[in-house]
């Protein structure tokens, strides 16, 4: 299981970083989504991997339990990344409609617009 978890985190992160570097709105949104999946699984793993164990103490038996905190952290992280993705989609859409281009890097018209700017 360790191998599956760690390799899936690795693949998701690699894919996310690759898409992030495409510098176009849609791939970047997908890339950030992949990254946030990767980090969610990673947070889960930070509480040690355990199968078939509940995240609460049982006062009736000797049953072992798994760490509940990472699950709470993951839940928070999921909510936040979901909301952030929605915001990003809206802003990306706004930028695309304004500029007619979905490129994210802006350098083209940063320095060359005003040649008269030099005194």
């Amino acid at each position: 299981m360790e191998l599956i978890i760690s390799s899936s985190i690795g693949v998701l992160t690699a894919g996310g970083v690759y898409l992030l570097l495409r510098l176009r709105t849609f791939p970047v949104i997908l890339g950030l989504a992949l990254l946030s999946y990767a980090v969610n699984v990673f947070l889960f793993a930070s509480g040690r991997l355990a199968i078939d164990q509940s995240p609460i103490l049982s006062k009736y038996g000797e049953a072992t339990y798994t760490d509940p905190l990472p699950q709470a952290l993951v839940l928070t992280a999921i909510v936040i990344s979901f909301g952030m993705t929605a915001v990003l989609v809206m802003i990306g859409l706004g930028a695309f409609l304004e500029a007619d281009s979905d490129r994210i890097d802006i350098t083209a018209d940063d320095g060359e617009t005003e040649d008269g700017g030099r005194a």
């Binding site: 952290l73 802003i91 990306g92 304004e98 005194a119």
Partner: protein
């Protein structure tokens, strides 16, 4: 005592109220927003007095004891930062209202209050995951503020800013996961107990977490390898928002100061050498980037943004030393540079809106050319660190704190040469904007062929529009005038920050105290 949680609760309640109840009435929203910010300022003053006794106050949310529940911690540093935030917020808010920036888009005031909530929460929290949550709150509000009133360039710069920070947030989560996996806690005080117990040869994971966290905070603080988002963001944001963002970079610096002093700082064998090794050179390069940027900028807003980068470099050079005197200097410079940067943005806004663009080229002089010139140069003097205002004292304190042999060579040359370049850059920009303009024939305003119209017909600035910039300058002057009392307060602030036993004792041993 519920005072500690008020700086978070007040804006959190006010913001939805403004967004949902007062959305159609800008006047009502303005009144509510100003009242809320004034109230926040009053609360911050109360907190300063509360923290003045040198005790670390702890507020347990839901009354859960410390490592299990989330705590808010008020010490002198948090109180100082909350006061700084609320003072700056009030100045910025007056400017936004007087220049009607807030009416150029929707929900300015609601977003503004959410932003204050996130910033105050980040300064007060004693739990590192809670710090992440407050970071997200302040970021999501800042996304809205950044693209306030829209426009092509602003939307594209805003998109860049959002993507950059979302990537940063993901990295933050990775760091927290690593930290939790290796220590089993996310409470800052608990971390401060457990990390020193980890021997140096088993600290690999904690070191990874410490470096990841530093990268995340460096993104916020615009430190060298990850500073590239700042000039584009600040120069394209609405000017009052850029002025408010002056405190956002300080959130990053504060987080480095808090986490890397209390948890990873001196006394933790595995991680204590990290900060000086990585932070110091990065801060030196940041100063250089800022200085060259100021010198090379062709537009006014990027020029100011680069001077912010430079000032963050100076600040983080002092932070990187992690000694009490250096932290005192860093705090003084932090307060100073926040006001100086905000002042510059506000004054530049008055000038730029009366010209055709913010390019540094000679145009016919605007109305009140002399007044704007005086304000601009005063703020520029403060930013560059020349004598009358607090920038000089701030840089002097930083230089004085860096007299140790390991630091003096690089730090002194970087700060002094950087300051010189900044002065040259500002002087060139100012003389082009204000003095060369007067050499251009004024008749341009009379000929009817000026299609721009905005320049010729721009109304003079009202008192309320000039007041925020002057208030900021007055704060800088007061900071210089009362440098003695201020630095003795900051002295006790930084010794409280470096007293990690006291912090741990207050947070973890507070079982019988009031919650």
């Amino acid at each position: 005592m519920h005072w500690i949680v008020l700086p978070v609760i007040l804006p959190a309640l006010l913001a939805p109220l403004i967004a949902f109840v007062m959305r159609h009435d800008i006047a009502l929203a303005r009144v509510a927003s100003v009242a809320g910010t004034v109230l926040l300022l009053a609360i911050a003053v109360v907190l300063i007095f509360m923290a003045g006794d040198g005790i670390t106050h702890v507020y347990r949310l839901g009354d859960w004891p410390a490592p299990f529940g989330i705590v808010l911690v008020l010490d002198q540093l948090s109180a100082l930062m909350v006061l700084l935030t609320s003072t700056l917020a009030l100045i910025v808010l007056i400017h936004a209202i007087a220049t009607e920036w807030d009416a150029k888009g929707r929900h300015f005031h609601a977003l503004f209050q959410f932003q204050l909530m996130g910033i105050c929460g980040a300064f007060l929290t004693g739990d590192i995951f809670n710090l992440f949550v407050f970071f997200e709150v302040l970021l999501i509000a800042s996304y809205g503020l950044m693209i306030h009133s829209g426009g092509k360039e602003r939307m594209r710069a805003g998109l860049q800013y959002v993507v950059m920070n979302l990537a940063g947030s993901t990295l933050f989560l990775f760091a927290l996961g690593t930290l939790y996996a290796s220590t089993g806690t996310l409470n800052i005080a608990d971390l401060a107990v457990r990390i020193p117990e980890i021997p140096a040869d088993e600290a690999a994971l904690v070191r990874v977490a410490a470096i990841l966290l530093m990268i995340v905070f460096a993104v916020k603080a615009a430190l060298f390898p990850v500073q590239f988002w700042l000039p584009a963001t600040y120069s394209n944001a609405p000017a009052p928002v850029a002025a408010l963002f002056a405190i956002m970079t300080k959130v990053g610096a504060y987080a480095i100061l808090r986490i890397h002093t209390t948890a990873f700082g001196p006394g933790s064998p595995g991680t204590e050498d990290l900060a000086a090794t990585w932070l110091f050179p990065a801060a030196i390069v940041t100063i250089a980037v800022g200085a060259f940027g100021v010198l090379g900028a062709r537009r006014l807003m990027p020029l100011i943004a680069f001077s912010v980068v430079g000032s963050m470099g100076t600040l983080l050079v002092a932070v990187a030393v992690f000694s009490t005197t250096a932290t005192t200097a860093a705090l003084y410079y932090m307060v100073h540079s926040t006001f100086a940067a905000a002042c510059l943005f506000l004054i530049a806004d008055l000038v730029v809106t009366r010209r055709s663009a913010d390019t540094l080229s000679a145009e016919p002089p605007t109305v009140q050319n002399g007044l704007f010139a005086v304000l601009f140069f005063a703020a520029a003097i403060a930013m560059a660190g020349m004598p009358p205002l607090s920038g000089f004292l701030g840089k002097l304190l930083v230089l004085d704190a860096l007299r140790e042999p390991g630091f003096i060579g690089w730090a002194w040359s970087a700060i002094l040469i950087g300051s010189l370049l900044t002065i040259v850059g500002f002087a060139r920009a100012g003389s082009t904007l204000f003095w060369k303009s007067t050499a251009i024939a004024a008749p341009a305003t009379e000929t009817p062929d000026t299609a721009d119209g905005v320049v010729a017909g721009a109304p003079p600035a009202t008192v309320m529009q000039v007041a925020p910039g002057m208030l900021g300058l007055a704060a800088l002057a007061a900071l210089a005038l009362f440098a003695g009392p201020v630095s003795s307060y900051l002295d006790s602030t930084s010794s409280q920050l470096h007293n990690r036993e006291g912090y741990v004792e207050a947070v973890l041993g507070a079982d019988e105290e009031e919650g």
